[in-house]
Structure formats: structure tokens, C-alpha cells
């Protein structure tokens, strides 16, 4: 779970993965490259214009980094069955993200699976590990 998997997707796929109706440019995020991470949910902010999922991810050196992952607005999430309690603090999650280009720990959420059985977006190959 501490392994960062870097996956290269095709350009067409990146277009599909773009926010449904994002209200801002996504230029700060990687267009194509995705990263898979696993960790523990800190909190899920269900906010307009964009919701954010915060996850503590353990690093190889034993330290922990809190990552933030952007999602669509509640308006859109409601219709996709994502409630404000879709993720709760303490849930184990595996996430796929298009990270910030500059390397800081945030990105756009492409997919996720959780220890509570909740899924989101693209989940193929995402596992919670041991």
C-alpha cells in the first residue's frame, strides 16, 4: 500500500476522466499521468464548488503525508450517489489521482475504493492491499 504506482494512460482516456463540469481550469493537474495511493481518510469536505477528500498516506521512510483530492460539486456528486458520508474518517482507501504537476500532495480524484465497500469512478486495479 505504500507503493506509488505511476500509470500512463492514453490521451483519450484523460479526456474522459476530466471533471464533468469543473468550474475552473484543470491545468494545474497532470493531464494524463495518474498515481495510485493508499491510506486512511482524514475527512471528506462536501462543498461547492468542489468537494475534497483528505487522506493520510504513509511514505516509504515511515513518515505520513496528508493528501487532498478534488472531486466535483455536491450538485454533481448527489446524482452519482456520493453522499456526504461516502467516506468517513478512519476509512481505509485506495485512490487513483491525477496529481498536481508541481509535486505538492494534491490532485484530482480519478477513482477510489474504500474499506467500507464504497467505490468512486475508475476502480480497475485499485486494491486496499494487506
Amino acid at each position: 500500500m505504500r507503493t506509488i504506482i505511476v500509470a500512463l494512460a492514453v490521451v483519450a482516456l484523460a479526456l474522459v476522466l476530466a471533471p464533468v463540469r469543473a468550474h475552473h481550469s484543470g491545468a494545474m493537474f497532470e493531464d494524463v499521468r495518474t498515481v495510485d495511493l493508499a491510506g486512511t481518510v482524514v475527512r471528506f469536505d462536501y462543498l461547492n464548488p468542489h468537494s475534497w477528500l483528505y487522506v493520510n498516506v504513509a511514505n516509504e521512510d515511515g513518515t505520513v503525508t496528508e493528501w487532498g483530492f478534488e472531486l466535483d460539486s455536491p450538485t454533481v456528486l448527489r446524482r452519482r450517489g456520493v453522499s456526504p458520508n461516502h467516506w468517513q474518517a478512519g476509512d481505509r482507501v485506495a485512490v487513483r489521482t491525477r496529481p498536481l504537476k508541481d509535486g505538492r500532495p494534491a490532485g484530482f480524484l480519478v477513482g477510489a475504493v474504500s474499506s467500507q465497500g464504497k467505490t468512486f469512478g475508475q476502480t480497475n486495479g485499485l486494491t486496499l492491499g494487506e
Binding site: 493537474f29 461547492n48 475534497w52 483528505y54 487532498g68 460539486s73 450538485t75
Partner: protein, 364 residues
């Protein structure tokens, strides 16, 4: 009677919108004084008022024909006065009471099958938009398009600024209408915006008092069950991302009406982003935009579908959500002028009351 807008040859143009800006034919410079409709001048550039970039768009009532003749009215004022005179010739405008006003209650959504493209007569091809602009505005549009293409453009909404009118029509979120005899409140969930339409006969503010606002100043009247609106005093801005600018001289005429597609025998398939909708209810809005940037008025039809929240399950879903934009936005501008996002811990916890009262800070 159903009015069918044909899709023309620009299906998929939305994705390709910025990829090329072909030189325009010389006659694109023609002025409206020539009164040769642009859709006749450029039949292949998507200049028809009713071209859909994505699919056919069917209306029950709203017309894609440009009001006022082949090249339209010369101003919003002329357009509004013609509608007012027409209503008067039939004994109007209608003086409604609370009980005689039409029922526009419930929660509605913009049919996103037209969505962003609806604002340009369902035409989002760059060439089509450029062909409909005055030369100076066209040059600006070509510059702006390059900025978008090269990631040098910022959507003002990224700053938590509101969608200006008429972009207001094209954003997602719940719509709510509250009608009273002297005023209509037309709401959009995004940025919690409500337009106020005075129907008490007052004119727009005089030049002494008129400012330029995101949604402008709107007056209107009822013609039976049709709400006619004239809006001016709008801020300058953009029609949408990747779309031309509008000046602060833009004025817009709207005609709103609720229709029943089922009774009319018109099959409606709105793009509801997955929401359930009530097929018997729909609001269609004819929108005509007048701007010095435009060679001729831009005209289109916007449609709202009605959310079906009759079931207990849907009542859980249909709740407009406070648009707490500053709280929810994580964007900032780097020292290099790049719009980026905060990572965890980088943004002050501005919604925490303990942040507001802290002896280590000096707030002035």
C-alpha cells in the same frame, strides 16, 4: 408544433473548438446594414441560429428564428417595445395576481445537452462564433482562444466570481423560480444567484443610477403565461469559456414560458446528469443577445427540465446546496502567475471560529 433544430455538420466541434481558426471569407466583414443573414452568408460555418453542436434539439414552443426579421431588431429596446406593443394590442400586459401566475414551482435544471453551447445559438464552432463578431471583437476572440489553448487563460469563476449574465443560463445546478405579481425571482444554485425581474412597470435605472452588475438590471412584463424580460447594465465578460467576450453594453431580451411536451406530442430527452425528470413539465426560454461586438443579434432557446422529486429517495437528492465558494475553492495564484490548488495544510482554516478570534493575529 415542434420545431426541430438540425445538427448541421459540426457535431463534435466542442472538443475541436480551439484547434484551428481558419481564415474567414472576405464577406464575413459584411455589416448588418447589408441585411444578409449570417446564416446565409456562411451556411457551412455553423452560423444558423439553430445549429446544434452535439445533437438535434427539439423545442415545444421556443423558436430559433431570429426575432424582428432576417437580420433582427436593431436594438434590445426596439425588440422589447415591439413585444410590449404586441401585448398591448391584445389588451396586455397581463396583470397577474398571486393565484393567476403560472406555476413554475419546483427544482429545475438547464438541459445540458445544450448547456454551454446554447448561448451561441447552439453553435460552439470557433469559426462560427468568429464569423458572427465585429472585426475588432473577432481579433480579441482569436487572441483569447490562443490564451485558452496555451493555458494562459483564467475562468473568472475560478476566482469565485459569479457567472455573468447570460452565462448564468449555461451553468449547472438547481434552478428555482419564485413569482409574485410585481417581481420574479429567478434563481440558480451556482453562487446562490437570484435575478430580480421587476414586473411592476418601472423602467431600468436612469444613466445616473445604472451600474454594471454580474446579472444586470432586469425589467419585464407578463403576456399571458409568457414572461418577457429586458436586461441591461451587465458587466463586461465572457459568454463562456472558449467563447467570445461581451461588452458592458450587452442587452438581452428573454421570453419564458412553461410548456407540456407530452401534451404537445414532442419527445424530450434532456441531459439531466442522471437526475429523474418530469416529462410533462419544461420551461423554454428564447434568448436574444444584443452587443456591439456582434454583427447581428445572437438568438437561441434555452430549456429547463423539471427534477422529479416526488419519491422519498429523490427528496434526499434534490436539495440545492449552499454555494460556499470561498470555503470550497482551493485555488491560488503562484508567484509565477499560475493558477494552482492548495495542498493540505496550505490554506488557512478560515471557516473555523477559532481562526476568527486569535490573540496572535491582528485583524484590522
Amino acid at each position: 408544433m415542434s420545431k426541430l433544430a438540425t445538427s448541421g455538420s459540426i457535431i463534435g466541434a466542442g472538443l475541436a473548438v480551439l484547434l484551428s481558426l481558419a481564415p474567414l471569407p472576405a464577406d464575413a466583414q459584411a455589416s448588418t446594414a447589408d441585411c444578409v443573414p449570417l446564416k446565409e452568408q456562411h451556411p457551412n460555418l455553423g452560423t444558423s441560429q439553430s445549429i446544434s453542436a452535439r445533437r438535434e434539439f427539439t423545442t415545444v414552443w421556443g423558436s430559433f428564428d431570429l426575432p424582428g426579421g432576417p437580420c433582427g431588431y436593431d436594438s434590445a429596446e426596439s425588440h422589447y417595445n415591439a413585444l410590449l406593443e404586441d401585448a398591448r394590442s391584445r389588451g396586455g400586459p397581463t396583470e397577474h395576481t398571486l393565484t393567476s401566475l403560472p406555476d413554475w414551482s419546483g427544482h429545475w435544471g438547464t438541459d445540458n445537452s445544450t448547456g454551454e453551447i446554447a448561448i451561441v445559438g447552439l453553435n460552439s464552432s470557433t469559426e462560427g462564433m468568429a464569423a458572427r463578431l465585429m472585426p475588432e471583437a473577432r481579433a480579441q476572440f482569436e487572441f483569447d482562444a490562443r490564451m485558452w489553448q496555451e493555458d494562459h487563460a483564467i475562468d473568472p469563476i475560478s476566482f469565485c466570481l459569479p457567472p455573468n449574465f447570460p452565462r448564468w443560463f449555461t451553468e449547472y445546478g438547481f434552478r428555482e423560480q419564485f413569482l409574485t405579481p410585481d417581481k420574479a425571482l429567478l434563481g440558480s444554485e451556482m453562487v446562490n444567484e437570484f435575478r430580480r425581474i421587476f414586473t411592476d412597470g418601472r423602467p431600468h435605472p436612469s444613466e445616473e443610477w445604472l451600474t454594471h452588475e454580474w446579472l444586470g438590471y432586469s425589467i419585464g412584463f407578463w403576456d399571458g403565461d409568457v414572461l418577457v424580460i429586458w436586461t441591461k447594465g451587465i458587466k463586461e465578460g465572457i459568454l463562456q469559456r472558449n467563447m467570445p467576450r461581451q461588452t458592458n453594453q450587452m442587452e438581452v431580451i428573454e421570453r419564458w414560458r412553461k410548456v407540456n411536451p407530452v401534451a404537445a406530442g414532442v419527445e424530450i430527452q434532456p441531459n439531466t446528469l442522471g437526475a429523474a425528470f418530469i416529462p410533462e413539465e419544461r420551461i423554454e426560454i428564447e434568448v436574444t443577445m444584443y452587443d456591439p461586438n456582434f454583427l447581428e443579434p445572437w438568438h437561441t432557446v434555452v430549456a429547463y427540465y423539471k427534477e422529479d422529486d416526488r419519491s422519498a429517495e429523490q427528496k434526499e437528492i434534490v436539495w440545492p446546496h449552499q454555494w460556499d465558494c470561498v470555503e470550497g475553492s482551493q485555488w491560488f495564484i503562484t508567484d509565477d502567475g499560475v493558477v494552482s490548488q492548495y495542498a493540505p495544510g496550505e490554506k488557512p482554516d478560515i471557516t473555523n471560529p477559532d481562526f476568527w478570534f486569535n490573540e496572535n493575529y491582528i485583524h484590522q
